[in-house]
């Protein structure tokens, strides 16, 4: 048998490319492996960074870099990659990983060393990728991760056998407990990236012969050599004979040859499509028979027992709905107390500032403008924390993949598959990670449809808007004992977002994003107790970024708004009139004719305009303008919601907000785009302005239309008063 590439065997490419001592360029080390095998956990343990981890496939969807300090003071660049099952990528996230591995990415050099993370519970499948890497003579070290879980499952791995058969170092690790991490660093530091033994698996004799001939032809006609030529030959042999006609990039001689190969192999009864994968697995099975032993399992696993309930045809849906209801209810009940503390804290602070700063513009600016706006937003911190805590637990327990499984049927109705549900669920936190998560979807039309509707899912920035309006205008009546009208209203807003997202996805898939029937195929990880540390780290990160926004953008915008709402000065006028004639009031009144049909007046208009780029800004705007508006000079005793509740238009004497306006406003915020960052991410992910522009247009139209209908219906039902 002739090797696929002479060079790769003679050792020409085997040695690690070494940089001269003291070279400026640091070595790059890449982490690869199947999805969910613990790459990011290991990356975090090695670099001390805090990238997102979660117990479902497809958490990491982009390349992440970090510094890795090895024991002898050498620094490397460590790259964390999205998971992939093979070097034959089918989804965009896998493409990123394989491009970087094979040195096809323009922005990243080919890594000097690859650490392939192998899930000890799933060695056979992981070795498939390993064998592909070996074939390409990639300098390799194996991190055998999750050995703790393997031990629990009665799996024993003979490391020496693996090392001997693969020809590379194998380091056992438990990334989540940082076990084996130092040893791995040491092995990386030694530059122990041997290229291993390549092509140990054997094709059946006739297939190998055809392969060799084709490699010769590929070299002759297309100057293709080495593993690339082998992969190309394999692909040509596996392809449908009819498709050859269209492969005009190949020389006709070559295509003719392939056609005859197909006939010969068919005559010999060889299944061309499966023979390559099959041959690899054959070798893997033989290897594993020696290297891995597993005690027979008795009885059902815990995961199976949980799945029996959680993915049940009926109970599955009930449990899912229950979890969501619990989430939104707890956001109200559990967050109430800490929210009151924060509110009191800000009150005390504003009182203090009022005491020490003499009356005048400075005091007004600080207390009413800046503090008012920031306080209104920061008060919602406990709710944000709770939301992320919940999402973190769902993500790290293994439930996310089940949610996708349960919702597959529903998603199928709208022309998508269950996998699309994960980006939608992530969008409850924020549309940006949601849109990024669509990279796991193979079909580009399905992916686009999911991206287009992801911002309709209610993100955490809408939460303050909803809860402010709900707390002010929805009575806290209890329903069914455990729920309150407030909790259910919140749930229905999230429900409306989900419903709109599915409806629009259906429409897009029916019209300009038609594609073949989606296929649902997804690995379901074992359940585990969420790691408190990793959940808390993520919650802390989100909380910090929320506070950071409050302290920077929202603070700045509140100060700006204070000026706009206080000038031009109208001495002697009532505060309410002053606001109406200020610049902000002017702007609000300017757009009032447009929003009047939705039941919104100019004051709401100020909020809508200022929150165009960021949704929470609605709350800070209300905080600022109602503070200025407040005739009472002694700090902000009356809470924002009370002030909004009792506010009346000075000209007409009508209340600014009614329960109906509040509902209309919420509906508007459910459906409207109002987020600059989402636009930017859409632009980046679709690589054009077309789709973000379309998204803004359709969402605005939807928001306006639905809010209008709700308002009219509400008036007709006599709810306007």
């Amino acid at each position: 048998m002739t090797p696929p590439a002479a060079g790769s065997r003679t050792g020409l490419f085997r040695t690690v490319r070494k940089h001269p001592a003291g070279a400026l360029k640091a070595r790059t080390v890449a982490l690869v492996g199947n999805p969910n095998c613990g790459k990011t956990t290991l990356f975090n343990a090695l670099t001390g960074l805090r990238q997102r981890v979660g117990n479902y496939p497809g958490v990491t969807v982009e390349k992440k870099e970090g510094r890795l300090a090895l024991q002898d003071g050498i620094q490397c660049t460590l790259i964390d990659l999205p998971g992939t099952y093979s070097l034959l990528a089918s989804a965009p996230d896998e493409q990123i990983a394989t491009d970087i591995l094979l040195g096809r990415a323009s922005h990243t050099a080919r890594p000097d060393l690859v650490v392939c993370v192998v899930d000890a519970c799933n060695i056979e499948r992981s070795l498939y990728l390993v064998s592909q890497l070996l074939d390409r003579s990639v300098p390799l070290v194996i991190a055998l991760n999750m050995v703790d879980a393997a031990e629990r499952n009665g799996i024993t791995v003979r490391l020496r056998v693996l090392e001997r058969e693969l020809g590379v170092r194998v380091v056992p690790t438990v990334a989540s407990k940082r076990r084996g991490v130092e040893e791995l660093k040491r092995v990386i530091g030694q530059g122990a990236g041997a290229a291993g033994k390549s092509r140990q698996w054997r094709l059946p004799e006739p297939v190998q012969r055809e392969c060799d001939e084709l490699i010769g032809l590929l070299d002759e006609h297309h100057q293709l050599k080495g593993p690339d030529a082998f992969d190309e030959a394999a692909a040509l042999l596996a392809t449908d004979t009819a498709d050859l006609e269209r492969m005009v990039r190949y020389d006709p001689v070559l295509r003719d040859h392939v056609r005859r190969d197909h006939q010969r192999l068919e005559f010999l009864g060889v299944d061309r499509r499966s023979v390559f994968v099959e041959a690899r697995y054959q070798w893997i099975r033989t290897l594993c028979a020696e290297a891995v032993s597993q005690e027979p399992r008795n009885g059902d696993t815990l995961t199976h027992r949980i799945d029996r309930i959680v993915t049940h045809r009926v109970w599955g849906i009930v449990i899912f709905a229950g979890i969501m209801a619990l989430l939104f209810q707890s956001i109200f009940t559990w967050a109430a107390l800490p929210m009151a503390w924060i509110h009191d804290g800000f009150d005390a602070l504003s009182l203090l500032l009022t005491r020490i700063i003499p009356p005048g513009d400075l005091r007004n600016l600080l207390v009413r403008g800046a503090l008012g706006g920031v306080a209104a937003v920061v008060t919602f911190l406990p709710q944000i924390i709770l939301l992320f805590l919940f999402i973190g637990v769902l993500e790290d327990s293994g439930y996310m993949a089940r949610a996708a499984f349960i919702m597959d049927r529903v998603m199928g109705r709208v022309g998508l598959h269950g996998k699309s549900f994960i980006p939608l669920l992530s969008s409850f936190a924020c549309a940006i990670p949601g849109i990024m998560a669509t990279r796991t979807i193979e079909n580009s039309k399905d992916r686009l449809a999911t991206m287009l509707v992801a911002p309709l899912m209610s993100c955490s920035a809408r939460l303050p808007v909803y809860t402010l309006l709900i707390a002010a205008f929805i009575p806290a009546r209890s329903v069914l004992g455990i729920f309150t009208a407030a909790g259910l209203t919140l749930l229905s807003m999230y429900g409306l977002g989900l419903f709109a997202a599915l409806g629009m996805a259906w429409l897009f898939k029916k019209t300009f994003l038609k594609s073949s029937v989606p296929v649902f195929l997804m690995e379901l990880p074992e359940y585990k107790i969420p790691s408190i540390r990793s959940v808390l780290v993520q919650v802390a990160e989100r909380a910090y970024s929320f506070l950071h926004r409050a302290g920077t953008i929202i603070l700045g915008a509140s100060i700006l708004l204070w000026f706009l709402a206080s000038y031009p000065r109208m001495d002697g006028a009532l505060p309410a009139e002053r606001l109406q004639h200020s610049y902000a009031g002017l702007a609000g009144r300017f757009i009032e004719p447009v929003i009047r049909p939705l039941g919104f007046d100019w004051k709401v208009g100020i909020g809508l305009v200022s929150s165009l780029l960021q949704r929470e800004m609605f709350v800070s705007t209300m905080g600022t303008i109602y503070n200025i508006d407040n005739a009472n000079d002694e700090g902000g005793q009356a809470s924002l919601r009370d002030r909004m509740n009792s506010d009346r238009d000075p000209a007409t004497g009508l209340p600014t907000f009614t329960a109906l306006t509040a509902v209309c406003l919420m509906v508007y915020y459910v459906l409207a785009m109002q987020c600059l960052s989402t636009v930017a991410v859409m632009r980046r992910e679709t690589n054009s302005w077309r789709w973000p522009a379309f998204q803004i247009a359709y969402m605005s139209a939807l928001a306006y239309g639905v809010t209008f209908v709700v308002y009219r219906a509400g008036l007709w039902l006599g709810l306007g008063g």
């Binding site: 099952y85 519970c121 299944d271 996708a404 499984f405 296929v519 195929l521």
Partner: protein, 88 residues
């Protein structure tokens, strides 16, 4: 345990619950999907066990992992009881 009620050749979609069967052939019309199935370990001659059925989809065990797939896809996977596999 007897294998008598496993049809010699049936699809994974109709395979009995909880019993290991052997994959004989994948004939999904889209080649890349058949390839993906194979790479995931659901290749010809692999043992697979359907463990749960959901709404239009099912959970299978291959090697040590659980994989969720829809019934239409499962319908394109031909399986047989392990004894008959020798003749295939």
């Amino acid at each position: 345990m007897t294998m008598t009620n496993v049809q010699p050749h049936t699809t994974l979609a109709n395979a009995p619950l909880g019993r290991a069967v052997r994959i004989t052939r994948l004939h999904h019309p889209r080649k890349e999907i058949a390839t993906r199935l194979r790479e995931l370990g659901m290749c010809e001659n692999a043992l697979i066990r359907c463990v749960l059925r959901g709404n239009g989809n099912m959970i299978c065990e291959v090697q040590n992992m659980r994989i969720g797939l829809d019934n239409r896809l499962a319908g394109s996977i031909m399986v047989t009881a392990p004894e008959e596999a020798g003749t295939a």
